[in-house]
Amino acid sequence: MSAEHNDNNNSILKIALNLAFACILSGIIIGLVYFFTADIAKQKQIELQNLALQSLVQGADKYTPIAGKPGCYTATKAGDLIAYIVPAESKGYAGAVKLLVAVSPDNKVLKYTIIESKETPGLGDKAAKSPFIDQFPGKNAGELTVDKDGGTIQAISGATITSRAVTKAVKLAVEEAATITKGGK
């Protein structure tokens, strides 16, 4: 090591302190912002989830989490059970596709909504839209396969993998709902 590395401006300690100070400053700022926003963010998250549940099952007035099944809800209207809400996920074209599926008490699909996916915009993300999504209501677990595999769901052209993934996730959710029905009766 030559002498110039040890002069005042470039001593390793000074450099390290400089970076450490920047990181500490950054940490303090982020910490403070988090401290003040965490509670509000949590509140908003719950509101958002309720909104998602409401758009899934219209007309329900109460959503109750199902004991022993994390993420599952029953939707009731004036005390009558009208739907189970079951989360499901499967592997799509670009990572996991997460859905929330509403299943009727007689184990047919009511509706689903995609809560998280990284599918190709303009191609795979058509799975969240009409006409693809319109094929699902009223189907039971046995019918939920894409046409290329001999089922009744017509896959989106150019996005067979996504179509398969979504269909499979919905099927899983319906089967999951069936176990809830059995357990309850």
Binding site: I30, K44, Q45, L48, P121, G122, L123
Partner: protein, 208 residues
């Protein structure tokens, strides 16, 4: 005023981040499949790059040159994280839309490049304007690519159908290879255009 306009406008055409500096091409490919995505990404980058240039410029005399790059990255990450936390708390729906873009922005080459090339050597106000101009140029380029890709790949613009059902969408425009081909042609076109601008300026005897 003229000086500020020059700083701002060079990011739009002559030093356009995507078509001329060829920085941040990866997101240009990844998120320009639709106009909405391209615009959202562009505005997010404009915000972060302007703020980062401002902050780097304010602290430029305290940063040790040997650790400047990690410090710039820390600064970008701080801005992005704070923006993320604020959005989560006060605009969760917007956060849901912007979420994936925001975390991508941290590693954008163009933001680091402007901190290094411009903000670390200039006063805060010009630095902010430089960042804003670069962000605007980035947004412009993203929009051009996004409009072409969405129009030919899906027959729509901003989700509205422009080309009717007679038009079979060319899927290649939506996929990454289509974006590569398109950006290649656009870089070529951009070079012809900016060469003309420079030539015209040269003939008028202006310095570029």
């Amino acid at each position: 005023m003229k000086r500020y306009w020059d700083i701002f406008s060079k990011g739009l055409v002559l030093e356009n981040p995507i078509f001329v500096l060829a920085l941040s091409l990866c997101p240009a490919l990844a998120v320009t499949t639709s106009v909405v995505n391209a615009l959202t990404m562009g505005l997010t980058v404009t915000f972060v790059i302007s703020m980062n240039n401002l902050i780097v410029s304010i602290f430029r005399n305290w940063v040790n040159p040997k650790v400047r790059v990690p410090i710039y990255i820390t600064s970008i990450a701080t801005i992005v994280t704070v923006a993320e936390l604020l959005l989560k708390a006060f605009a969760p729906l917007l956060y849901k839309e912007l979420g994936i873009y925001l975390s991508l922005v941290v590693v954008f080459a163009i933001i680091l490049a402007r901190a290094e090339v411009f903000a670390s050597k200039n006063r805060p106000v010009p630095s902010f304007i430089d960042g804003f101009g670069m962000g605007a140029g980035f947004t412009l380029a993203m929009l051009i690519v996004g409009v072409i890709r969405e129009l030919f790949g899906n027959g729509t613009i901003l989700g509205y159908t422009v080309l009717g059902s007679w038009y079979p969408p060319a899927l290649i425009f939506i996929m990454a290879p289509g974006a590569f081909i398109l950006i290649g042609y656009l870089v070529g076109a951009w070079n012809i255009w900016s060469a003309r601008i420079e030539k015209a300026k040269g003939e008028r005897g202006e310095t570029i």
